[in-house]
């Protein structure tokens, strides 16, 4: 049996959305799926048993952080990350390249790999495609990522094309170096910046390789939302129907709904657990900052329809008092936020299976934005896959409306913080 099988279970008759079943060595995964990020071999204050209780089927681990601590030798001796962290279900690892380029100021990329100064002893080191694969083979995740040539999303000119071409050359080196193809599936990454022809070329080149799924990279890094959705749409338009598609680093609720409509199957984001640390809880209409004084006497749960263990037991009032003061509040809000993301994905899967996805999208957008205007990019993206949203009561000309979930995800800042605390 191959280490990854994927089958489409249902397709939306209007948009490109699909529900699938991905079977991995450690778990079955129902797609579309959100993968919580357990950077260092743990998900912020949540026990593996609690994640199983939430029906989380797959976690993401960061190769860069795991390579530093506990280190590859320790992971090998432990028998891989699953055993080391006591997580019996599926894991996906990134290549380590993106984290390196965003965390280490001196990282530079050439044809060999990513050059950097070791945070261990400041010596000059290099992460090659082969090396990334060796490390990921030791970690033993069910799905691993190729090392890709990462450029800032806002980069233009020949560097974008060079990065795309190099990413294709590197995928061959990764495939060649991959020593556990019977257990682990290697995903190539579609690059090409914000350039439609480059994205197309990249997809068709990668499709010539023997791979079991594809990742879409180089997005969600500061480009306009208009460019963002168009690139996602272009990639899913060319990728094969019978293989899973993973959009890296996307996790705001509205973005998830739009990208599922565009045909994406897998997502990851640090946002739900990160925002929990600052006392924020995700709800249908965005997020509640529980530190705000208005919650002091609010005796309702975060969300009365949520079935998570936090909403069953705790009021907003109590959480207001302990948020950011008692560390247990971080676990309580992380549980709720992960439950929220997983529930959103489940609702989408169910809507697709009933072939009621377009109505789900309309209802979601109405309750998410409430009286605020729905951003133009969301209307355009959904219209591109034949989902029309009702017109706003007042015509709003504002172009790049920020998502309701306030700030953009700041993966880099978070990771810098993590290194600073270590």
């Amino acid at each position: 049996i191959p280490p990854l099988t994927y089958k489409v279970v249902a397709e939306c008759s209007v948009s490109k959305a699909r529900a699938g079943l991905m079977t991995l060595r450690h778990s079955e995964v129902n797609t579309p799926v959100f993968m919580p990020v357990g950077t260092q071999g743990t998900l912020k204050g949540i026990l593996p048993d609690q994640l199983i209780e939430l029906n989380c089927q797959i976690l993401l681990g960061n190769t860069y952080h795991l390579g530093l601590r506990p280190g590859i030798e320790t992971l090998k001796k432990a028998g891989g990350l699953h055993k080391f962290m006591g997580w019996p279900r599926a894991i996906l690892t990134d290549s380590g390249g993106f984290q390196m380029v965003s965390l280490l100021q001196l990282a530079e990329i050439d044809e060999h790999g990513v050059n950097f100064r070791s945070p261990f002893d400041n010596s000059q080191c290099m992460l090659t495609p082969e090396h990334s694969i060796q490390i990921q083979n030791a970690i033993g995740a069910d799905i691993m990522m190729q090392l890709d040539d990462v450029v800032k999303t806002t980069t233009i000119g020949p560097r974008v094309e060079e990065a795309m071409e190099r990413t294709i050359r590197w995928v061959d080196r990764c495939i060649e170096a991959h020593a556990r193809d019977d257990d682990q599936s290697l995903f190539p990454i579609v690059q090409g910046g914000l350039d439609v022809p480059l994205r197309q070329r990249c997809v068709s080149a990668l499709m010539e390789r023997q791979v079991r799924g594809f990742a879409v990279g180089g997005l969600s890094g500061g480009e306009s939302k208009h460019d963002f959705w168009r690139m996602v749409d272009v990639c899913t338009g060319y990728l094969p129907r019978d293989k899973p598609r993973y959009l890296m680093g996307v996790g705001f609720a509205a973005d998830l709904v739009v990208c599922v409509a565009l045909g994406i199957d897998m997502f990851d984001c640090v946002f739900p657990t990160r925002t929990a640390r600052f006392g924020c809880a995700l709800v249908g209409s965005g997020q509640l900052n529980l530190k705000q004084p208005k919650y002091k006497l609010d005796m309702e749960p975060i969300d009365k329809d949520c079935e998570c263990s936090t909403c069953k037991r705790y009021t907003r009032s109590y959480l207001h008092h302990i948020a950011t003061n008692e560390s247990v509040s971080c676990s309580l809000l992380s549980i709720h936020n992960v439950a929220y993301q997983l529930r959103l994905m489940r609702s989408m899967r169910e809507a697709i299976q009933r072939d009621e996805f377009p109505q789900f999208v309309r209802d979601f957008m109405a309750s998410h934005f409430q009286s605020d205007p729905i951003p133009a990019w969301i209307r355009e993206a959904l219209a591109a896959v034949n989902i029309q949203l009702p017109a706003d009561p007042e015509k709003n000309d504002e172009q790049e409306q920020k998502p309701k979930t306030e700030k953009r995800q700041e993966t880099e800042d978070l990771d810098k913080e993590q290194v600073a605390t270590s």
Binding site: T42, L43, D49, A78, C125, Y314
Partner: protein, 418 residues
């Protein structure tokens, strides 16, 4: 509050039954209170505590110094009726007792004044008058609460400071005895007076002068100033003064003594007749990255009091923190993983440690109650003192001051540059 003594023995202390509410569960003493911070068991959600530590009803130890901000919300919560303080913190079905000071942290020694009692909260020092204190108690509505006291004394305190703590406590309690009818909660009479027999007698006398039914039990304070200070008490100094106090108290009231006493001191206090303790020792161990591994069952295996999670030697030790332990942490995780969580400063580290430490300490209390019932407390004490015939074991907890250095990171990426 009802307290019934089952047995008293010269060598093994007392076995009792405490019923806090007529309709509520009965607890056997020696009893272990669950210490909390801001109303929650440190690091553990209600879900984790009940799924992985204990499903049985507990007595939660709340502290005003970590919950003072919740007074307004609780006044509103409690006026609905039916729901109580334990429900508000997500732990319905458990009983609770309200203390002033957090036994997990060292209480600063300052700010004592004639008419007010300092309360050290997360935001700094608050000043409590007896009036304000009783208002807060009536908002919080705990099942049991302690009387307002000045307990800022320890072995080093000068006679004058000790006398002040007694006088001021007496003054506060004067007000509280007079106004206790306004709250429904059960009152504990504070006994203070440092290590001074005369002062302790005076404090006890003031309580015992009160009309019958004024209070339901005693709280012993002023032997230490909480936090790690309780783990290093000199029992040759502590035990005689505790004995002196206990002798003057009637049998039918429980005696509560908060603090992170070492397991050995704890056993000696039980022998003296103290009935109720708390889990702050388990907290202090977890906070300082120590797993409790002392043995309280006779066997042939060698035991040490702690496993130091910060120790580089366990980096690749894939055995459980404590062999034969049935807790979640020991069943599912390894020393190496706990060490990794420590190094990466991950929140799951203290969660897993607290699960184990509470599990271990609660099992210890089961054995204590068994030993008291069988009048074999001295044998248990010897076992804990010497750990399988080895030389005397040190149970004090040193504050962890280690800084995780880059040098302890793996070399996972150190491929030479091309």
């Amino acid at each position: 509050m009802k307290f019934a003594i089952e047995s008293i023995s010269k060598n093994s202390g007392r076995l009792g039954q405490l019923r806090v509410k007529d309709s509520g569960p009965e607890f056997r003493t020696p009893l272990l209170l669950q210490t909390t911070k801001g109303g929650s068991i440190p690091w553990l959600s209600a879900d984790v505590f009940e799924s992985h530590v204990s499903r049985k009803p507990q007595v939660l130890q709340f502290t005003l110094s970590t919950m003072d901000q919740m007074t307004e919300a609780l006044a509103l919560w409690n006026c609905g009726g039916g729901r109580g303080l334990s429900d508000y913190v997500g732990l319905p079905g458990h009983l609770n007792i309200l203390l002033l000071r957090d036994p997990c942290e060292t209480t600063p020694s300052r700010g004592n004044d004639r008419d007010i009692q300092p309360l050290f909260t997360r935001r700094g020092k608050e000043s409590l008058t007896p009036e304000r204190y009783m208002e807060m108690v009536s908002s919080l509505k705990p099942d049991i609460y302690q009387g307002l006291s000045d307990a800022d004394t320890n072995l080093e305190s000068a006679k004058k400071r000790v006398q002040k703590s007694v006088d001021r406590t007496e003054k506060f309690m004067h007000y509280i005895y007079e106004h206790r009818g306004k709250v429904e909660s059960n009152l504990l009479a504070p006994i203070v007076g440092g290590y001074n027999t005369f002062a302790r007698t005076q404090s006890i006398k003031h309580a015992r002068e009160q009309p019958a039914g004024s209070y339901g039990g005693y709280i012993f304070e002023g032997f230490h100033t909480n936090g790690l200070t309780a783990t290093t008490l000199d029992s040759t100094k502590l035990l005689p003064i505790v004995e002196h106090c206990v002798k003057q108290l009637e049998d039918d009231k429980p005696r509560i003594m908060p603090g992170a006493f070492s397991p050995l001191t704890l056993l000696e206090l039980i022998r003296q007749g103290v009935d109720v303790f708390d889990t702050s020792y388990a907290y202090c161990a977890s906070f300082n990255f120590k797993a409790l591994t002392f043995s309280f069952v006779q066997d042939t295996v060698e035991h040490v009091p702690f496993l130091d999670i910060t120790d580089e030697a366990i980096k690749e030790d894939f055995t459980p923190p404590l062999g034969n332990c049935s807790c979640l942490t020991c069943q599912k995780h390894t020393r190496a993983y706990l060490h990794h969580l420590y190094k990466t400063n991950e929140l799951l580290g203290p969660i897993l440690l607290m699960v184990h430490n509470l599990h271990h300490y609660m099992a210890f209390f089961e054995i204590i109650r068994e030993s008291v019932a069988k009048d074999t407390l001295p044998q248990l004490t010897e076992l804990v003192r010497n750990q399988n015939g080895k030389s005397q074991v040190d149970y004090s907890i040193a504050a962890n001051t280690k800084v995780v250095s880059k040098a302890t990171m793996g070399k996972g990426f150190a491929a030479a540059a091309v």
